[in-house]
């Protein structure tokens, strides 16, 4: 605590107790009457809101809120008073907290402020029931009338889109309020792929948690399972093997490249530039096939294990991979300049869907969304955990915050990550890939990983037998979705798809 920054000491002075969970992650228990005061206190100290979730420990409901700054994370924990079962809402200070609070209300029954509209529930159970705390009586869906924000005025009309879309994408409902072609407002309604991840996690053995974490959002399967593994390891105080750690970084970078390639192609495809779409699809497909051949899964599912990884590389694989990286870099360098230098394409992307730096900071976005808006946020840089401590990563920054900037950030990251892959292979230490797993005990830990979308924060708590008692993976999409609502403002309806694709938030990642 001696070398902790001043803001941290000021904030932890509000708590009744505090302890370091692990390196630069502080747990502060606060009294519920201070909860309302903490949001403005944290906000003026420029802490970023990084998640909120409820838990029940020793029959007592408690709420965790995660705040972050400069690679430090503070977990604020409060127990709502028995009579009220509620805490004041933070939405006024941290707008992105709103939906996480509503999710916590729907599943755990903790109330935030006066008004708690449904989010995940979708009328599938009663408003006063909480499936993760009490038994519920299922009812037919769609009974609740969802309170969409409405706009009025001459010529203002609404366009409802989804949850079933014309393309093969996940379900989500978008309600546009439009005057002519101009978007006045957009409200999203998600929760259609609620899978009960939090409930499914309870009671699992640590090794069985990772397959579940792998499936929170399939495009971030490595990042999510790495974050869960980190949380478990930190809880029990073990370190993954040196070889395992490098391989984890290797897998995560491969995942980043595959997704960025897909996104670059899709952004260009959405403005009708099929050439780029086809070329990027081809590159991504070859990349995934290589992964299938070497790791046994196209998307690298279930490659991460507690204490290390579940896959290993031999000399033949490494030769194949190096050739694969060389090919990719060469082909990518042929295609990339065309995308940045082609005026008809850039004309569509420049100034489309701008997210200002202020808005990005206020919403707490991370990943390419933050970096394209001039915020230098990258977990790999801010919290250099192995293997990034030996392979420093410079965040790829852009200032404009438009679709073109987000494309540019992704393109820069593809090149950087391919080079990083080679460096990781050079540095691959010999030895076992997995650490033996120790007997369980009651403990808790937090894992923070930079997925391709941005920062993933995963909280895991183990019970006395060492089984999972609470698992909460916080996908960056919780903040990307509200950012999408903000950045489409002032654009025309016809440009929404490309804005949406440039954000590429996950439905599954926050419809837990």
């Amino acid at each position: 605590m001696n070398n902790s920054p001043a803001w941290l000491q000021e904030l932890s002075a509000w708590g009744t107790s505090s302890r370091m969970l692990q390196d630069r992650i502080l747990l502060v228990t606060v009294a519920p009457e201070h909860w309302a005061q903490l949001a403005p206190e944290a906000s003026v100290r420029q802490l970023r809101f990084a998640g909120l979730w409820a838990d029940v420990r020793d029959e007592k409901l408690e709420v965790n809120a995660c705040l972050a700054r400069d690679g430090w994370y503070v977990l604020l924990r409060a127990t709502p008073l028995d009579g009220t079962m509620g805490l004041p809402s933070w939405a006024r200070w941290y707008p992105a907290a709103d939906r996480m609070q509503r999710h916590a209300h729907d599943l755990w029954g903790v109330r935030f402020g006066e008004c708690n509209p449904p989010w995940t529930r979708h009328g599938a159970w009663k408003a006063d029931e909480a499936p993760l705390r009490t038994p519920v009586t299922p009812q037919e869906r769609g009974r609740d009338r969802y309170p969409f924000a409405t706009f009025s005025g001459e010529g203002v009309y609404e366009i409802p889109v989804g949850p079933v879309h014309a393309g093969i994408i996940e379900p989500g409902h978008f309600r546009f309020s439009v005057a002519g072609e101009d978007i006045l407002g957009l409200e999203e309604r998600l929760g259609y792929v609620h899978k009960g991840i939090e409930w499914l996690a309870c009671g699992r053995k640590p090794a069985a948690l990772l397959p579940l974490a792998s499936r929170v959002s399939a495009d971030s399967t490595v990042a999510h399972s790495w974050a869960a593994a980190l949380a478990l390891e930190c809880a029990l105080g073990i370190a993954p093997t040196a070889r395992g750690v490098v391989l984890r970084g290797f897998l995560a970078e491969r995942e980043r490249i595959a997704n960025h390639l897909g996104d670059v192609g899709a952004i260009c495809g959405d403005v009708g530039f099929a050439f780029a779409k086809m070329q990027c699809s081809r590159l991504r497909e070859e990349w995934l096939r290589c992964q299938h051949g070497i790791f046994g899964h196209r998307l690298l599912m279930d490659c991460i294990a507690p204490g290390g990884v579940a896959v290993d590389l031999d000399a033949g694989h490494i030769r194949l991979l190096r050739a694969n990286h060389r090919d990719m870099l060469q082909r990518w360098q042929n295609i990339a300049p065309i995308l940045t230098d082609y005026p008809p394409l850039q004309d569509r992307l420049l100034n489309t869907g701008r997210l200002s730096t202020v808005a990005a900071r206020g919403l707490g976005v991370s990943g390419y969304l933050a970096r394209a808006s001039g915020l230098s946020l990258d977990v790999r840089h801010d919290r250099p955990q192995p293997p990034y401590d030996r392979h420093p990563v410079q965040p790829c920054l852009q200032q404009r915050g438009d679709v073109a900037a987000r494309l540019q950030v992704r393109m820069a990251e593809i090149s950087a990550s391919v080079r990083l892959l080679d460096a990781l292979l050079d540095d691959l230490p010999p030895g076992p890939i997995q650490e033996p797993w120790p007997p369980g005990m009651a403990a808790e830990g937090v894992g923070v990983v930079e997925g391709f979308r941005g920062e993933i924060v995963t909280h895991v708590r183990l019970d006395d037998q060492g089984n999972v008692a609470r698992f909460f993976p916080r996908d960056p999409s919780w903040f990307a979705w509200p950012a999408l609502e903000v950045l489409v403002g002032g654009n025309i309806v016809a440009d929404f798809p490309v804005c949406n694709k440039s954000v590429n938030a996950s439905y599954s990642g926050c419809d837990l």
Partner: protein, 310 residues
């Protein structure tokens, strides 16, 4: 003769679209579907049961038939293989564009009828574009008509054939204007994208979303015919060579070969444009149409000033 031309036109229409699709796929390094794919799609759609939204009225069910019939009628007045088309004497370019407008009005009313947001969205965008495209088409056709002193297409094409190849500035300007109009009218890049699945960016496709089964088949078929209509119109006006002046089998066969060659070349131009250009911003499309209108006006002036001999 007339039934033959109509039959040939209707059957050949999907083929042109298939040819363009195939070329475009090749330009994207894909194998692409066979040029016969649009035919197969039509067959599949005709075999399917049409689903009608419960909010739709008879307008919604009638619209595809009106659209199909109007497009087919417009095409029957077009000199396709021979200048002497049976309907030529009663149709001039006003009637031709009138038929196309009727087809479009039917499409727009049919898409508005179920009251879905996308139908309205697509119809309003289509109206914005067509209100700019149609005057340009008319102006372009009229400035060409001045050369032959007749707004009858058969007379105009006959005149062009008789006077032989001649470089006319008015034709150059008008060709550029009509190429742009043809691209916009057929929902092609860069104004619209026929291959997108993104409802919110669509113009033409957004209007079509609610139809299914044979209704959708008729709407799509009308789209194919419209593309062929513009293809033949451009070929007739700017490269009329090879058209038969009387209906002997040998002449007709030669005319058919020439037409296929011209359409294949047009298909290459279209596929290349679509491969090279992304879709422009929606509100830039009117700018492109303004340019087309300006070119048509230039064509008219250059005819009056340079070519007109009183």
């Amino acid at each position: 003769m007339l039934p033959l031309q109509i039959l040939l036109f209707a059957l050949a229409a999907p083929l042109l679209n298939g040819w363009v699709d195939m070329l475009r796929a090749r330009l994207q390094n894909r194998r692409g579907p066979s040029p016969l794919q649009p035919w197969r799609n039509l067959r599949r759609l005709f075999a399917k049961e049409p689903v009608v939204p419960h909010t739709a009225s008879w307008l919604f069910r009638m619209a595809p038939y009106v659209m199909f019939a109007a497009t087919l009628l417009a095409s029957s007045a077009l000199p396709m293989l021979t200048v002497q088309t049976p309907l030529a004497s009663v149709t001039d370019v006003l009637v031709l564009t009138g038929f196309l407008t009727l087809a479009r009005v039917a499409l727009m009313i049919g898409s508005l009828d179920p009251g879905t947001a996308f139908g309205g969205l697509g119809a309003s965008r289509e109206l914005m574009l067509s209100a700019l495209a149609e005057p340009t088409l008319l102006l372009g056709l009229f400035s060409l008509a001045m050369t032959a002193h007749s707004s009858n297409l058969a007379v105009l094409v006959g005149h062009l054939l008789d006077t032989g190849m001649m470089l006319r500035p008015s034709f150059l300007f008008t060709l550029l204007a009509l190429l742009m109009v043809a691209g916009v009218e057929n929902g092609r890049l860069p104004a619209d994208n026929t291959t997108t699945h993104l409802e919110l960016t669509m113009v033409h496709e957004a209007m079509v979303l609610e139809w299914s089964g044979r209704h959708l088949a008729l709407v799509e078929w009308s789209g194919h015919m419209k593309l062929l209509f513009y293809g033949i119109l451009l070929a007739d006006l700017f490269a009329p060579w090879g058209l038969a002046d009387h209906a002997s089998p040998a002449m007709l066969a030669l005319a058919l070969l020439c037409l296929m060659g011209k359409l294949a070349a047009l298909g290459v131009v279209l596929a290349l444009t679509e491969a090279l250009l992304p879709k422009m911003r929606l509100f830039r499309a009117p700018g492109m149409l303004n340019l087309a209108f300006l070119l048509a006006v230039l064509g008219l002036f250059s005819h009056v000033i340079l070519e007109h001999n009183p």
